[in-house]
Symmetry: C2
Subunit: 344 residues, 2 copies
């Protein structure tokens, strides 16, 4: 049976869960998918690196005591990310580190190094797609490898691949989405009577919101996702400054109350549309939706995208937008797509 | 550029719209999809048959006076459906006739004849998939051709291909859906204060409901779709008698009113789930959903399916479930899938 050797870059919740799935569900996956996965290297900023060409001992990695590093493990190496990514013996790099919202680094460089060294890449990072989609896609093509990034938007809920595959030819003219679960959760709790401050604190207690919730409630997280989707769905490259962006900080309890009295809801919507002249206009901001709008019923931390189309009118996909297992599945779905492309 | 010759079986709203799209959007489609389509034959029970190996004059067909047949047109033939399907010079048959809910005929035979004569098939009919999916899929494989049927459920909204492609490996354990737009429209109008009788009459006036609305409001239309989805999503073949089926005729204005008072909604839900022993249980019936249920917000004639999954929890796709253009796009999406398979 076909096997792919995988290197994990970043060993936080997402790649750790992918390693668990590979360790525990291997047999079921092989039967269902027709290929196996073997982890041959792992690197993490805090933990160090291990490389094992015949397969890393995943249980040793997953059972590390809190505070321990890879230092005592077989195959431990002292390598920079670049050295690791360029030299690790792997077919595919699973990149799950972080994105600087200004330039997408270090994720962009991680992806570039992997593709340059002839490895396919799957990533859950928005940065490489938002800032360097053309360069990295062209690079992958030149090296005969693959670059997949379903998890860049809505974790494992397939938006990008739904548009590229089952919706091909439908004529997508635009999209509108609820693309940040934290802000949607906060708006929902404000509808239940909480102040915005209390709702933010609750979201932080549940782990939905970061200690600094600015990117979530200020709209910049949604803006990056709008840039990714505009490129993937509408074929245009937008700069951050092309997306007029407003967050939910201006939404007051009174505004929420008045909206409910009129059977409406405030939602933070990221959208882009191509007009009849071919010009794409994009924005992020709070919008007042009627109760019968397809995005009005999206509750709690759920995400959703409505595709506006020529032949089907509006089609909406809703599902998780975050989560450990959900985001690890995004990487698994990328690996499945890479396998399908390899078999062609 | 690659071209496919298409034969249209049935020339009602759906194939007529497909012919319009092929006639009008050919250039855009060729640029976007990388192939062209040429209609080489059309047959319809009321209109007769035309065959033209170098391409039927579509505008002549589309501009026929009401009440006229194909008798005066170039290429007119007197042929049975079987003779036409077996002999028409075409790569692909687009089947859009009708399905007898008891045995799926005549659509099942149309598909069989086409596959037996070495033609790929796309169809919007539920019957061939609900009653003969294994036989027809095996037959297509033996002849090296393709059998596609996205339009059997939710018209062009891609449910079957979303599960088979972007959601591959997610572990679908069941599904719940609003699969009949007419009954959903009627329930919505009852929430607005109409009696069921008045809501049915209104749906008939708008063309949503047939003169005999039994299949829509009695649940048998949804049952067929549950059978199709159980086969495609869960890999099990259910008989009609395996699906406990109840319609919405028992839902009264009082029940609707009480539900709204409790922030709940009655919806006609078709569902199937695999339990931990691997047994699949399926049913169709009115269910009382909380306002935060992912199917509660599906309004008017929209359809939706929620996939219950191992890695993503619930993922919902919502879109049109009927309509002339929407169903013609289902056939176009099948043609795109056949082209993709041909290129492998």
């Amino acid at each position: 049976m076909k096997n792919y050797d995988i290197a994990l870059v970043g060993f936080g919740n997402v790649n750790r869960t992918l390693a668990q799935i590979i360790g525990e569900d291997q047999e079921r996956m092989a039967a269902e998918l027709g290929f196996t996965l073997r982890v041959t290297g792992v690197i993490d900023l805090r933990l160090g690196a291990v490389i094992a060409p015949t397969g890393v001992d995943l249980s040793a990695l997953l059972e590390l005591e809190p505070g321990s590093t890879f230092a005592g493990l077989e195959g431990f190496r002292e390598l920079s990310n670049e050295e690791f990514i360029r030299t690790v013996p792997a077919d595919i790099v699973a990149e799950a580190t972080y994105t600087n919202p200004a330039d997408g680094e270090p994720a962009v460089s991680h992806v570039r190094w992997a593709l340059e060294s002839g490895k396919s890449v799957c990533t859950t990072n928005k940065g490489p797609v938002a800032f360097a989609a053309e360069e990295l896609t062209r690079l992958a093509g030149e090296r005969g490898v693959h670059f997949e990034f379903e998890g860049a938007v809505m974790s494992g809920t397939p938006v990008i691949r739904l548009a590229a595959g089952p919706l091909k030819g439908v004529g997508i003219t635009g999209f509108s989405g609820i693309l940040n679960g934290t802000s949607n959760y906060i708006l929902g709790r404000m509808e239940a009577g909480l102040s915005q401050m209390a709702a933010i604190e609750e979201a932080q207690d549940y782990g939905y919101a970061e200690a600094d919730p600015t990117a979530d409630i200020g709209g910049s997280d949604v803006r990056l996702k709008v840039m990714v989707l505009a490129h993937e769905l509408l074929g245009v490259r937008l700069a951050s400054s092309d997306v007029a962006t407003e967050g939910i900080t201006g939404i007051t309890a009174e505004m929420i109350e008045q909206a409910r009295a009129e059977s409406k809801r405030w939602k933070l919507i990221g959208t882009a549309r191509r007009d009849t002249d071919g010009v794409v206009t994009a924005s992020v901001g709070p919008r007042l939706l009627d109760d019968d709008h397809p995005l009005s019923g999206i509750r709690a931390a759920t995400n959703a995208v409505t595709f506006h189309t020529r032949y089907l009118g509006d089609v909406t996909i809703a599902g998780p937008g975050a989560g450990r297992v959900e985001t690890a599945y995004a990487l698994l779905s990328d690996l499945i797509a890479i396998d399908a492309a390899e078999r062609r």
